[in-house]
Amino acid sequence: MRRLRIVVIVLAAAVLGLAWNAASGRGLALGKNAYVREGDEVIPVAEARARLDKGALFLDARPLAFYEMSHIPGALPLPEDDFDRAFAKIEPRLRSSLDVVVYCSGFGCEASHLVARKLKEKGVPAVVLADGWPAWTDAKYPIKEGPQP
């Protein structure tokens, strides 16, 4: 009896939650990444690789220590937690780049989306690498170790 009541409570919460999500007008799309907002452009890893080969500028939005361990070859560090200072250092390069791709630690990481939006505010269009660094390494694409791009 107690177990049945517990199941009823959990099911009732699920029904209420899903109904509210569908009807409230402020719900989230269940199959969509909550980090992605309207206006964000996200590209899959294979397209990112193709863009790298064509000379796209990659930006690493992770904390600097992660960049210095390893990063995508040619990428520049633009950590979200130190955006203003890092942006000032690489601004000329950013403004001369026609194709900018931002990535971070993937999955639970929002930094790449935040950096791409900040860049957009500053007039530098940038796309986000879907699932970030883990997607790149899982695809066995080349990486570079150390602090140099």
Binding site: I9, V10, W20, G31, K32, A34, A135
Partner: protein, 159 residues
């Protein structure tokens, strides 16, 4: 330890625990998208290559309502022990999640415990201590001490 069996204490703890759960649910219910972003940072239910975003989004949608429902049941006394059992299970889940991010060195920054915006509390040892206190309260309500015979006092029903 007879004071532990006092019906007034039992009700106060039950209502207090329920109020905490209702309060914890409100901001999450109002802002499910922001809560989903916090759920992602724990990296337990996804998003990941294997799980995708669905489990994390479902958790973000359902969990606040479960907290609200459990809170209301604890306050009203209807199915109180079952609600306390779920509250205990949720608190164990929260403790495991906080323990996981601490062990992994993941900086969650905002635990998503009571609010989803602003600064918020980080997932740390203070949060673990708070959750352990709430877990003790849930266990106390679930065990239903006042239903045991107390000389000179009428036991309250277990609903």
């Amino acid at each position: 330890m007879r004071w532990l069996r006092h019906p007034i204490l039992y009700w106060v703890v039950s209502i207090g625990l329920g109020a905490v759960f209702v309060y914890a649910s409100l901001d999450k219910i109002a802002h499910p998208l922001d809560f989903a972003r916090i759920v992602y940072r724990y990296r337990l239910a996804g998003p990941s290559a294997v799980l995708g975003v669905l489990p994390a989004n479902l958790l973000a949608v359902v969990l606040p309502w479960l907290e609200a429902l459990v809170g209301v049941l604890l306050i009203t006394g209807f199915w109180r022990r079952e609600a306390a059992a779920i509250a205990g299970a949720l608190l164990v889940m929260f403790l495991l999640a906080v323990g996981y991010v601490l062990a992994q060195g993941i900086d969650v920054a905002h635990c998503g415990c009571f609010t989803v915006g602003g600064e918020g509390r980080s997932a740390g040892w203070t949060l673990i201590a708070t959750d352990l206190g709430l877990l003790a309260a849930a266990a106390y309500v679930m065990l239903g001490w006042p239903s045991d015979p107390v000389p000179g006092r009428k036991p309250i029903s277990a609903a």
